[in-house]
C-alpha cells in the first residue's frame, strides 16, 4: 500500500512540474494564448447555436426542457475543457513520438510511460475558454431550473464529471494506440475528433437503440450525459452504478491494450 502511495506521490509531483512548465511556455507567447482563447470561444459559439435553435423554438425534446439542455451543454463544455486541454493536446503528438523514435527518451524515464506520453502537456487557453463558458451555462441553468443545490449533490455532480473525463481519456486513447501499428494516423485522429461532437446534444435526441449502444457498447454517451441527469434527478440507479463501472472497465482495457501495443514499438533507427 505504501508503495502505491509512493508511486502516486511521485507522479503528482511530476505533474505539478508539467503544469508549471506548460504555463510558463504559454505565457511566453501571450499573444498566441489570447488568439487561441478567442478561437476556442468561437467553437463554443457553434455549440451555442444548437441552444439558439432549442430556445427559439421553446421546445421540450423527449422530456428535456431548453433549460435542462442548457445544463447539459454547459456540463459538456466543462468536460470538453478538461479533455481538450489536459488530454487531447497530448494525443496529437503520440504518432509523431512513435514515428520519429522520440519514445526512446521517454521510455527510460522513471515514471509511467503512458503517463509521460498522454499527460505531459497542458493547454490553458483551451481549458480557460471552455471552462468559463461551460460554468457560466451551468450556473445560468441551475438558477433557471431552481435547482436546490445541496453540498452532497454538488459533490456528486463533480464526481460524475471526473468519471466522465476518465471515460473520455480511456475511450479516445484506444484508437490512438493504433499508431503503434499504422504510421499515418491523421485519419484516425480526425475521425475520433469528430466523434467527440456526438455529445454536442444530450443522448435523448437519438433513438433508443443508438442510446443503448452509446451507453453500453461504445460508451461515448457516458462521458457527458450522467452529471446533468444526476442534477435534475433523471438518472436511474442502474445508470448511476454503470457510471462508476465504465471507467474501471475501460481503464483496465486500456492498460492491457497499452502493454500489448508497447511491445510492438521498435525505435526509429533500429
Amino acid at each position: 500500500m505504501s508503495k502505491l502511495i509512493n508511486v502516486v506521490n511521485k507522479h503528482l509531483i511530476v505533474y505539478i512540474q508539467f503544469l508549471k512548465l506548460s504555463l510558463i511556455t504559454q505565457m511566453e507567447y501571450r499573444w498566441n494564448f489570447f488568439i487561441g482563447f478567442i478561437v476556442e470561444s468561437g467553437f463554443i459559439f457553434t455549440k451555442i447555436m444548437y441552444l439558439i435553435v432549442i430556445y427559439n423554438l421553446d421546445i421540450t425534446i423527449n422530456g428535456y426542457s431548453p433549460d435542462e439542455i442548457l445544463l447539459y451543454v454547459g456540463t459538456f463544455s466543462i468536460i470538453t475543457a478538461f479533455y481538450t486541454g489536459f488530454i487531447m493536446i497530448n494525443f496529437y503528438e503520440i504518432p509523431n513520438n512513435i514515428k520519429k523514435g522520440d519514445l526512446d527518451l521517454l521510455i527510460i524515464k522513471p515514471v509511467s510511460l503512458q503517463f509521460m506520453l498522454t499527460l505531459r502537456k497542458i493547454d490553458f487557453s483551451m481549458i480557460l475558454s471552455n471552462f468559463l463558458g461551460g460554468t457560466a451555462m451551468v450556473i445560468m441553468a441551475i438558477l433557471k431550473l431552481n435547482i436546490d443545490l445541496t453540498f452532497s449533490y454538488f459533490l456528486g455532480y463533480i464526481l460524475l464529471i471526473f468519471l466522465g473525463v476518465i471515460v473520455a481519456y480511456t475511450l479516445f486513447l484506444i484508437p490512438q494506440l493504433l499508431s503503434f501499428w499504422i504510421i499515418e494516423t491523421k485519419a484516425i485522429f480526425n475521425i475520433s475528433d469528430k466523434a467527440w461532437d456526438f455529445n454536442t446534444m444530450p443522448m435523448v435526441i437519438y433513438t433508443k437503440i443508438i442510446q443503448r449502444i452509446g451507453i453500453f457498447l461504445i460508451p461515448i454517451f457516458t462521458i457527458s450525459n450522467f452529471p446533468s441527469m444526476f442534477l435534475v434527478g433523471k438518472i436511474s440507479n442502474t445508470l448511476l452504478i454503470w457510471a462508476y463501472i465504465v471507467p474501471i472497465i475501460l481503464f483496465v482495457l486500456v492498460r492491457i491494450f497499452w502493454n500489448y501495443a508497447i511491445k510492438n514499438y521498435s525505435s526509429a533507427s533500429s
Binding site: W31, N32, I35, G36, I38, V39, G42, F43, F45, T46, M49, Y50, I52, V53, N56, L57, I59, T60, I61, N62, K186, A187, N190, I191, D193, K194, A195, D197, F198, T200, M201, V204, I205, Y206, T207
Partner: protein, 251 residues
C-alpha cells in the same frame, strides 16, 4: 491526391455532424405539433442539412495557408520572373481541384438524397436542383475571391494561421453552413443580406429546397455577381499594396 484524401476525410468527418443534426431536427419535429420549424418543413430542413454539409465542403478553400507561406518564405519571388502571375497560378490550381470535388459532391448528394428519399418522402424538385447549379458555381468563385483577399493579410501580419481559423469559423456560422440562418431571427438574418457570406451557402441551398421564387433566384444571382466584382477589385487593390510592401521587405 493529397488534397483529395483530405476532401474525403472532411466529408467523412462532416458526416458525423450531419447525423447529429438530422437526429436533432427529427426529434424536434417529433416533439412539436406545428408543421414547420423556423418556416421550414421537415423535408426542407433535411434537404438543407444534407446539402449544406456537402456544399460547404465544396466551396471551402484552404489555400490561404499556402499563400501565407509563400509570402513569408519568399516563394512569391519566383512568380515575379515567371510568365504566369501568381493569381492565375492559384486560381487554376483551385479550379482544377474543384472540378474533381464537384464530381464527388454530385455523386454523394445523389446518393445521400436518394437514400434518405427511400426512407422518408423528400419534396425534391428536379428543376430547382437544375436552377441551383449556376449559383453554386458562383458561390465557389465568390468564396475563392473572398479568401484570396483574406490571404493577403499575410503581408501585414506575422502569424496568420490562427486568424484564418477564426475567419473560417465566422464564415461557417454566418453563411448558414451549420444551421439555416433563420434561427437567428428575422432582424439578424435581414442584416446578413448586406454581407456576401449568405450568398455562398444559404442562398444556393434554399434554391434546392424550393423556398425561393424565380425572381428571388435571379435577384440573388445578381447580388452574387456584384459581390464577385467587388471582391475582384478589392483583391487587386490589396495585392498591389501588399506586393509593394513585400518587395520592400525582400529587396
Amino acid at each position: 491526391m493529397e488534397y483529395r484524401t483530405n476532401f474525403l476525410l472532411n466529408i467523412f468527418g462532416g458526416f458525423f455532424t450531419l447525423v447529429i443534426q438530422l437526429y436533432l431536427w427529427s426529434s424536434i419535429f417529433e416533439n412539436t405539433s406545428s408543421k414547420t420549424v423556423f418556416g421550414y418543413t421537415y423535408s426542407e430542413l433535411i434537404i438543407y442539412t444534407v446539402m449544406a454539409a456537402l456544399v460547404t465542403n465544396l466551396v471551402s478553400t484552404g489555400f490561404e495557408r499556402d499563400i501565407a507561406l509563400d509570402i513569408k518564405d519568399g516563394g512569391l519571388s519566383k512568380f515575379l520572373i515567371q510568365p504566369i502571375n501568381y493569381f492565375k497560378f492559384r486560381s487554376s490550381c483551385f479550379l482544377g481541384q474543384k472540378c474533381s470535388e464537384l464530381l464527388v459532391t454530385i455523386i454523394l448528394s445523389v446518393f445521400l438524397l436518394c437514400t434518405i428519399n427511400s426512407v422518408m418522402d423528400l419534396d425534391l424538385n428536379i428543376i430547382n436542383i437544375f436552377f441551383s447549379i449556376i449559383p453554386i458555381l458562383l458561390s465557389i468563385l465568390l468564396n475563392f475571391l473572398f479568401f484570396y483577399c483574406i490571404s493577403s493579410l499575410a503581408f501585414w501580419f506575422e502569424e496568420v494561421s490562427m486568424l484564418f481559423w477564426g475567419v473560417n469559423l465566422l464564415t461557417l456560422i454566418i453563411s448558414g453552413s451549420i444551421f439555416p440562418l433563420d434561427i437567428f431571427g428575422e432582424r439578424l438574418n435581414y442584416a446578413l443580406n448586406f454581407l456576401p457570406f449568405k450568398y455562398t451557402v444559404y442562398f444556393p441551398i434554399n434554391i434546392i429546397t424550393g423556398r425561393l421564387s424565380p425572381s428571388m433566384i435571379l435577384n440573388g444571382v445578381l447580388i452574387q455577381l456584384v459581390w464577385i466584382v467587388i471582391h475582384f477589385f478589392l483583391l487587386k487593390a490589396l495585392w498591389k499594396i501588399g506586393m509593394n510592401k513585400y518587395l520592400a521587405v525582400g529587396g
